[in-house]
Amino acid sequence: MGNSCAVIGVGQTYYTTKRRDVSIAGLVREAALRALEDAGLTFKDIDAVVVGKAPDLFEGVMMPEAYLADALGAAGKPMMRVHTAGSVGGSTALVGASLIQGGVHDRVLVVAFEKQSESNATWALSTHLPFNASLVVGAGGYFAPHIREYMRRSGAPEHIGTLVAVKDRQNALKNPYAHLKIPGINRQMVESTPMLWEPIRYLETCPSSDGACAMVLASESAVTGTPAWVHGTAMRSEPIFRAGRDTVNPQGGKDCAADVYRQAGIADPRRDIDVAETYVPFSWYEPMWLENLGFAAEGEGWKLTESGATALDGDIPWNASGGVLSSNPIGASGLIRFAEAAQQVRGMAGEHQVDGARRALGHAYGGGAQFFAMWVVGREKP
């Protein structure tokens, strides 16, 4: 795994439908300055900048890293952009961490963002090239059949997705940065919303958000403030169309989890991890990922959700921050998971802090559930 790496600063913008008051540059800078302030540093203390975002068609800005160099204090420094679809926020953190672990730099600023209000993500994801006759309409249209297949295989009762939709929005009420805040959210409210891509209801999907998230990563000798130590990092990918590919429980996700657990010395994730921030853009992905990430046996993930184990007061809280279901600036969503995991073990998560959290999982996935990025962070130095 190389040299030790720690998160020493975290900055987030408030997530909302439209940030009309700032440019893209102003948005990323807001998160970056908050992360630097948290670390007690300035741009001068940063050796390199890594930027992540989802496809360029989302805002129509090609090579955004070049445009953002000024806003992120990157003049005269290495600056690079990462792109792994929806998992990009997680991959951005991991690329930044690798620059520390490899001994190349001592302090790296990682930033991810999306300003979805500048266009329309469903349009950007469904450009309909000639000759191809894809019938996939946006992300929901793609994932709905795989959720249906999970329900068939596992025999999960129909209300499990609703439980996740309610739980994550209840958690969001405790997170000042969260986008969707629905006081009094309950099952009936979720169940009364229309099916968009059956079996996915309106309130079982993520919102469309503007926002940015940033972290300052440091080598051991460059740590300031309260560190969250990186205990393991892993990325995996797999082709989207491959005979025998399991789209419900992808091999890439299983392999990625096994790798990150091995590095962190985790034998039983449910027991050894205190809190997980996972990429759940559609409610049913909580039970699906509970299985994919080894928190439950195959076909049993929904039982954990149903028992309340993943609630804020459960034995393995998932998405204490409210998760992607409550805030989704797509490019940043993975980095927010990684940052929230760090905040938990730093004891700085605020009202949604899980008491005594010592080890946390950050997880992101992207594409057709084919790109995975994960890290385990801990209070103690590994």
Binding site: G141, A144, P145, R152, L196, P239, F241, A243, R245
Partner: protein
């Protein structure tokens, strides 16, 4: 029978218009307007009144002689939308009458705001004056206020010429004949459709071509309630269909059956458009429709 009432038009207008002696305070305000500046006057209590008044409305005291340049930008504090402007109105298109508190002022000025549509305005919207080209010392020297620029439209358009790959062209030639062309990897023996030239699992070239039947099984599906130009109506079913003999499913429309009667495991067959209407495209298949056979085991 009553006689018709006598009706006549009448205009009551003082020839040339009344004059208004401005007095020193309003006169200063209008003189500054003619020069393209907006000023207010400070009261003895320290408030800046815009437009200025000769006497402090709070106390009745005379205002001080201190004139303060304000704005030109300001903030809308309240507004009402005029959908159908009258002839005397400052704009000939829908606009808002708004209370605008100019920067540095303690009171709000009434003026017109050209906001395009009512949704573009809210309390807090920042506006700036658009000056008349022919200023003469009148409130209409400001033609109207307009919102500050907060957003531009940036058209991005890239025109491409798309050439279908050799393998896709071969597949579509098959679809034009009413046949699904697939291929089999010599190493893993998996059958892929559409026809392709390499195996995504083994990474080797595929040379073995196979023709697949137009029947298959729905492995899973979504019922889409959002309209789409490629589907005849909502709800429509987009399904993963595993053609008989294939190892990867295709995504296609299912029709000829109510959406909520579609099942995982349902047996379906392609419904082809008449041969004369076919082109080199997937639209040769109208949709997949149930065969009526018993469901397949998944």
């Amino acid at each position: 029978m009553p006689s018709e009432p006598l009706v006549a038009d009448h205009v009551l207008e003082f020839p040339g218009g009344y004059t208004r002696t401005t007095g020193p305070v309003i006169g200063r305000f209008l003189t500054e307007l003619r020069d393209g500046r907006i000023v207010g006057v400070r009261t003895a209590a320290g408030r800046v009144l815009v437009p200025p008044l000769e006497y402090d409305p709070d106390s009745g005291d005379a205002v001080t002689g201190e004139y303060v340049e304000v704005g030109p930008a300001g903030t809308v504090t309240a507004w009402t939308w005029v959908e159908t402007p009258l002839e005397q109105h400052p704009l000939d298109r829908p606009f808002a009458w708004a209370l605008i508190r100019l920067d540095g002022a303690d009171t709000a000025l009434v003026h017109a705001v050209d906001a395009g549509n009512a949704k573009a305005l809210e309390a807090g919207t920042r506006v700036r004056p658009v000056w008349s080209t022919n200023r003469r010392g009148h409130i209409t020297d400001i033609s109207y206020f307009a919102p500050e620029v907060t957003k531009i439209v940036s058209p991005v358009k890239a025109a491409y010429k798309i050439t279908a790959s050799r393998s896709l062209t071969h597949f579509l030639e098959g679809v034009k004949r009413g046949v699904f062309v697939g291929c089999r990897c010599a190493n893993c023996h998996k059958v892929y459709v559409p026809y392709r030239l390499s195996c995504p699992e083994c990474g080797i070239a595929i040379t073995d071509e196979v023709e697949l039947p137009d029947t298959g099984t729905i492995t899973t599906f979504a019922i889409n309630n959002l309209p789409d130009p490629r589907a005849p109506e909502v709800p429509f079913v987009s399904a993963y269909i595993l053609l008989d003999g294939a190892d990867v499913p295709m995504i296609a429309l299912v029709g000829g059956v109510p959406a909520h009667q579609v099942r995982q495991g349902m047996r379906v067959r392609a419904e082809w458009v008449p041969e004369a209407e076919r082109t080199l495209s997937m639209s040769n298949i109208r949709w997949f429709t149930p065969t009526g056979e018993p469901d397949a085991e998944l």
